[in-house]
């Protein structure tokens, strides 16, 4: 396993930038996730690291080795495809052994490595089967074993869980993460699934339309989103349109004056996490305190999403915990809501 360095990596098709000026250092053993909506250039980035897509500019280094111009078969990266791409005419053993055979490993050593890789993904005893004789989850693990068997410098995962059903997906997340930590694998995973990204990553890169919006840990992204896009993509946010006064005050479209973090003066947006809003008597003591009418309630089990109208133009979703014995708000109720100034983050209008 090795450190991965990516310097000003760009990919352009014609005039259209699919990946724009991506720079990041991935230390050995880090689990990095590229997160962004579909079409934002995640797969292209991954395929540039694997060597399938030639960068328009920039440099990729694996463990100090400049691989920018090397073809895929000389890079020593392990890649798990979204579709798994198992060789249908080869048994599980042969699939996993493929990379080792290409590296001309002696047969005895090869068998050992294959057995070891299959043991890691808990598929001992499945070696003789063909891929079509396995369930989706097992196929996914074979793909993982195949990518790990030849000890790649970096493990690349392209939406590896998107073909699994929801319940299995959560199990496999944990499995992959544990395996990655145990083996100290430098890993780059691509996903558009926020939960998946947050639950697995050491660090995340949030991308949109080929551009990096923010690089950081879950906490960085959640507590200090760099822009409106990140605030909306990582976790949920209420967005209120309005005017930023510059000195920590915000006038909403509905004319409400709100205390918030300092921002640039002018037209802007206030982002507020639904779970940062308090309700009831305690709301009165907070920096911002308003009264609103409950318009809609979604009962989600452990929590309730309550839509509150503060002013005709200003509506926010408030998430409240569903504790037993507490009186829950009803539609049409008047509800006191409040939040501290630091919870309201203002972003200048995006050009």
């Amino acid at each position: 396993m090795a450190k991965v360095e990516i310097a000003s990596l760009s990919k352009r098709y014609g005039e259209n930038f699919v990946v724009k000026d991506l720079s990041i250092e991935i230390p050995q053993g880090e689990f990095l996730v590229l997160l962004g909506p579909s079409g934002c250039g995640k797969t292209t980035t991954l395929r540039m690291i694997a060597g399938f897509v030639e960068p328009s500019s920039g440099q990729i280094t694996l463990g100090g080795r400049d691989v920018t111009t090397l073809p895929p078969w000389k890079r020593n990266t392990g890649l798990v495809f979204q579709s798994y791409a198992l060789f249908p005419h080869l048994t599980v053993d042969e699939n996993v052994a493929f990379g080792l055979e290409m590296r001309k490993l002696p047969a005895a050593e090869r068998r050992e490595n294959v057995a070891e890789a299959l043991r890691l993904v808990r598929l001992e005893g499945f070696g003789e089967r063909l891929p079509r004789q396995l369930s989706g989850g097992q196929q996914q693990r074979v793909a993982l074993a195949r990518a790990l068997a030849f000890r790649p410098d970096v493990l690349l995962l392209d939406e590896p869980l998107s073909n699994l059903d929801a319940k299995l997906r959560e199990e496999v997340r944990v499995e992959i993460r544990e395996l990655q930590q145990k083996l100290g694998l430098t890993t780059v995973m691509v996903t558009h699934d926020q939960d998946e990204a947050l639950s697995m990553a050491d660090r995340l890169v949030v991308m949109s339309q080929g551009e990096v919006r923010q690089i950081g840990t879950q906490r960085d992204l959640y507590e200090r989103p760099a822009d409106r896009f990140v605030a909306g993509f990582v976790g949920r946010s209420n967005f209120l349109a309005g005017q930023c006064e510059g000195d920590g005050a915000f006038i909403s479209a509905g004319g409400l004056r709100m205390a918030c973090t300092a921002g640039v003066r002018g037209k802007g947006t206030l982002a507020l996490r639904p779970e940062a809003v308090s309700v009831g008597p305690e709301a009165a003591h907070l920096d911002n305190s308003f009264e609103g009418v409950v318009e809609y309630i979604s009962y989600l089990g452990s929590v309730l999403d309550v839509r509150v109208r503060l002013a005709p133009q200003d509506r926010i979703i408030v998430q409240i915990a569903n504790r037993s014995g507490e009186v829950l708000p009803k539609m049409g109720d008047t509800l006191k809501v409040g939040w501290p100034a630091t919870s309201g983050r203002v972003f200048a209008e995006e050009s």
Binding site: G78, A85, L86, F87, H89, F98, M102
Partner: protein, 278 residues
């Protein structure tokens, strides 16, 4: 209500059966007549009104074929020409089909299509002139080369279809695992397209085996293939229907057997590759 619907269905089935019969019966009848001829003695074969059922059936005609007409030599020629043309066709056509499929080259695919459509006859004159120039006329080699005009386009065309069905991701997976493009082809694409190789080889064999015009023009007295050798029997000697039919049956036998054994593959190949008789 129900009875009219039933009636309609029966009528539909009947119509289908009748049209199948109309389409197929000429071929079947000719074949049966040939079979009948080959099993009758000479007197019955020229009798009028014609006799259909051989009584008693005789194998004399078949013995005659092997005894008199150098049949084994021509059979060997046909095997050399068709076998060689199919083998070389595979050697050239399979990689070519792979290249065209992977490059998604509509241009080259179209070129192959044109080669498939062009009547084989139109290759004949240029080839004849070239062979004359280099002194190859009348040799087995010349015939083999000419038959490549038949086998290569068929094989390439069939292989394009099969290689296009091998997902690109599988080869990408091979490359990232350390396989060179050649190894990816050899270990992944080729084995997965094997049904296509079989189909292409069968079709190429049939069209090449049946071809007759190349051998008529380019074949020498001892280097003819079977179909044209039989044609020569027909033209120059007094027509003896019995041995002629027996010989014709023997010539069609390999193709016939192949068609029966590999029906499914042939239908798959024809519908993938479009049908044209060389």
């Amino acid at each position: 209500m129900a009875s009219t619907r039933n009636l309609k269905r029966v009528a539909g089935k009947l119509g289908f059966a009748v049209s199948i019969f109309v389409l197929v019966s000429p071929a079947i009848l000719v074949f049966l007549w040939m079979l009948s001829l080959s099993l009758k003695n000479d007197a019955d074969n020229t009798a009028f009104p014609p006799i259909f059922i051989p009584n008693p059936p005789t194998l004399d005609n078949f013995r005659d074929v092997f005894a008199k007409n150098n049949f084994l030599l021509y059979l060997w020629n046909s095997i050399l020409v068709t076998g060689g043309a199919v083998a070389v066709g595979l050697l050239v056509g399979v990689p070519a089909g792979y290249g065209i499929a992977r490059a998604k080259s509509a241009k080259f695919a179209f070129l192959i299509l044109i080669a498939r459509i062009t009547p084989a006859l139109s290759y004949l004159i240029p080839l004849f002139l070239v062979f004359q120039l280099i002194g190859l006329n009348g040799t087995i080699t010349a015939l083999l080369v000419t038959h490549l005009v038949i086998t290569v386009p068929i094989i390439v065309w069939v292989m394009i279809g099969y290689f296009e069905n091998v997902p690109m991701e599988l080869e990408d997976a091979a490359l990232v695992d350390g396989a060179s493009p050649w190894q990816g082809f050899r270990h992944i694409a080729l084995p997965l397209a094997r049904p296509g190789i079989i189909v292409g080889a069968i079709l190429a064999f049939i069209f090449s085996w049946n071809n007759f015009i190349f051998s008529v023009v380019l074949g020498g007295k001892t280097t003819r293939t079977l179909p044209s050798a039989i044609y020569n029997v027909l033209t120059f000697e007094q027509i003896s229907w019995g041995p002629l039919a027996a010989a014709a049956l023997l010539v069609t036998l390999p193709v016939l057997l192949l068609t029966v054994v590999a029906q499914r593959q042939i239908v798959a190949g024809l519908s993938a590759g479009g049908l044209k008789d060389g």
